[in-house]
């Protein structure tokens, strides 16, 4: 399978549009259609599909409130990328969406992450999808066509802030 499409329910409309466009371009995809009915067999199905995919497209909207099932999917994505460096993660950002921590953690902090962005999806959705299709078909590199996002300063600052917080908590127990 060429691409697994990961999304949260708030972006379902865009995920379905993307899925249709990729299929029309001859790209095989996996997009679940039964999220409303998660069951005991659903999680292994997601994990198997992620394992089987050459590319994982993570569709990220400006509002990130993942459900438990979506968090589980993110966990399976990050585990798959860490285990197999050949597997490619392609963030597709909508509007001013930020890269979530699990996506940032698939790369070294010093390395900018390449992503495709539809800043105004009503206007530039087709351009973003066309770029994505070219990347998936190997006609152009993601780093050449995508937006390079460096988060190192923010990541370092967040890490320092959290470690400092843990130190304060520790001292409160003294």
């Amino acid at each position: 399978m060429d691409a697994f499409i990961s999304y949260t329910v708030a972006d379902r409309k865009w995920a379905e549009k993307l899925n249709q466009a990729l299929i029309a371009s001859g790209i095989s995809t996996w997009l679940d259609r039964e999220r409303a009915f998660p069951g005991a067999t659903w999680r292994p199905a997601i994990e198997e599909a992620i394992q089987a995919a050459d590319n994982i497209i993570v569709l990220i909207g400006p509002i990130q409130k993942p459900s438990l099932l979506e968090r589980h999917e993110w966990q399976a994505v990050v585990e798959a990328i860490w285990a197999n460096t050949e597997k490619r993660l392609i963030p597709l950002l909508l509007e001013d969406a930020k890269l979530p921590a699990f996506v940032r953690s698939t790369a070294s902090a010093a390395e900018p992450i390449a992503a495709i962005r539809a800043r105004n999806p009503r206007r530039d959705w087709n351009r973003a999808v066309s770029d994505l299709i070219q990347v998936l078909k190997g006609k152009v590199g993601l780093r050449d066509r995508g937006e390079l996002i460096s988060t190192i300063e923010e990541d370092r600052s967040e890490q320092r802030e959290r470690l400092s917080y843990i130190r304060k908590v520790a001292h409160s127990f003294f």
């Binding site: 998660p38 069951g39 005991a40 999680r43 292994p44 990130q64 409130k65 993942p66 438990l68 968090r71 589980h72 993110w74 966990q75 994505v77 990050v78 585990e79 860490w82 979530p100 921590a101 699990f102 940032r104 953690s105 902090a109 010093a110 988060t151 190192i152 923010e154 990541d155 370092r156 967040e158 890490q159 959290r162 470690l163 917080y165 843990i166 130190r167 304060k168 908590v169 520790a170 001292h171 409160s172 127990f173 003294f174």
Partner: protein, 201 residues
């Protein structure tokens, strides 16, 4: 000091010597991910009943990690340890009590060993598939890190490999503290030792 629930992870696992290396790995991985580990040990030996301490720390945490790998028959009489399932039950109560609090609902990671027959042991957990590991820190740490980094309150996190590479320095410090405190290391010292050994990006 009131500890922010969204940065707090309650750890529910055995505290005995045999489990100590795994417990330390959970604590260290949690700190590496930028979260505050909470446990019944944090209040030391105060006179408050243990269940009060557990419930208080768990209810003050948005996240929790429960290791049920030892919840199976042990010894000649085949008794199981029920503390961990009991505390998982408290976490579940916390989740359902907070279901209307958007963004603050309790979330847990359930760990079992590869050979654990958890579905026979507690079939009501169907749909909350546990993460499995083989009883080593090498398989445990990736499950902890990948779970924490996929939570909404996560920050950019070290890879499991980087956490495992840094772990021996923490373990050495923890060992030295154990000698210094004759086994009863205050929780504050454990937290300080963990955060001091987290590598920077």
């Amino acid at each position: 000091m009131k500890i922010a629930p969204e940065k707090s992870v309650f750890i529910n696992c055995p505290y005995d010597a045999a489990f100590a290396p795994l417990f330390d790995a959970i604590v260290f991985a949690t700190v590496c991910c930028g979260f505050v580990p909470r446990s019944a040990l944090e209040s030391g030996t105060v006179a408050e009943p243990r269940m009060e301490r557990v419930t208080s720390a768990l209810f003050a945490s948005k996240y929790s990690i429960h290791d049920l790998s030892r919840s199976k028959g042990e010894g000649e009489e085949g008794w199981a340890r029920f503390n961990m399932p009991l505390e998982l039950g408290i976490a579940m109560a916390r989740r359902y009590m907070t279901r209307k609090l958007k963004g603050r609902r309790h979330d847990w990671l359930l760990l079992v060993s590869n050979d654990h027959k958890y579905m026979r042991f507690v079939s009501d957990l169907a749909g909350f598939d546990p993460a499995m590991y083989d009883g080593t820190v090498e398989t445990l740490v990736p499950r902890i890190v990948s779970w924490l980094v996929s939570r909404p309150d996560a920050i950019h996190t070290l890879t499991p490999k980087a956490v495992l590479e840094a772990l021996p320095a923490f373990q050495a410090r923890r060992h030295a503290l154990g000698i210094e405190w004759v086994g009863e290391v205050p929780w504050s010292h454990v937290l300080v030792a963990a955060q001091e050994n987290v590598p920077e990006f």
